[in-house]
Symmetry: C2
Subunit: 135 residues, 2 copies
């Protein structure tokens, strides 16, 4: 059974997209594998404190993308081919990296400065300050 214990909705992105992203990252990281059973829509919505329809929206899209198998009345399972896994990894990493590079470039720093920033901040603890930008 796939665990959503580490899932925490945050940021401005719609929750259903965050669920999709959480599952995909789990797949890419190997913590979610082919054949894994998913929690039911109702169970997960209760666990996350959100509406069942929001979970359904996420799962439905994952099913449309071929990562989930669902049937009326039956439990849902992950269906991940090796090729699909490889593509997923590439997509996620590429998106992350390009997003950062785009931001850093806009801030006018060099590649070397960027590398130093990543390296020195890697083991930094997560802090609060969820929104920020005031004053």
């Amino acid at each position: 059974m796939i665990s959503f214990d580490n899932f925490k909705a945050e940021g401005r992105s719609p929750v259903y997209l965050q669920i999709i992203s959480f599952v995909k990252r789990g797949v890419a990281a190997g913590s979610i594998v082919d054949g894994d059973e998913l929690p039911s829509r109702r169970m997960l919505s209760a666990l996350l404190g959100i509406n069942p329809n929001t979970v359904q929206k996420a799962f439905a899209q994952l099913e449309r993308e071929g990562l989930i198998w669902s049937g009326t009345g039956a439990k849902s399972y992950m269906t991940i081919s090796p090729k699909r896994l490889e593509l997923l990894r590439e997509e996620l990493l590429r998106d992350d990296v390009m997003l950062l590079i785009s931001s850093l470039k806009q801030s006018g720093i060099s590649r070397e400065e960027a590398l130093e920033l990543i390296s020195s901040n890697w083991d930094r603890e997560e802090e609060e300050d969820p929104e920020g930008e005031e004053l």
Copy 2:
């Protein structure tokens, strides 16, 4: 006069937040300096193809944060103290880097792999595929 030629709204973030971010990044990068004149709400909205109220919402928040001076009937100008500039730089860079690190860690890759990814993708050209994740 501050140029918004390189501004392009994209992603799921509200447009007014993207405008705020664009201005702040310009300040951090040095392309926007203290005393610079801002385009009028109407001009900019026409240029960006968005509603004047959306620009106003962005400028109003920047004024609340003390980065912009506005007066009824008058043009608007940037007001950036050296200290404010320094704080802004730190904030933006920190946010960018922590965002990426959080994502990459979730994808289960190491610090060394992360550094290699940044380095090898730095000079990569921006591509299309704005949404993605299909199939």
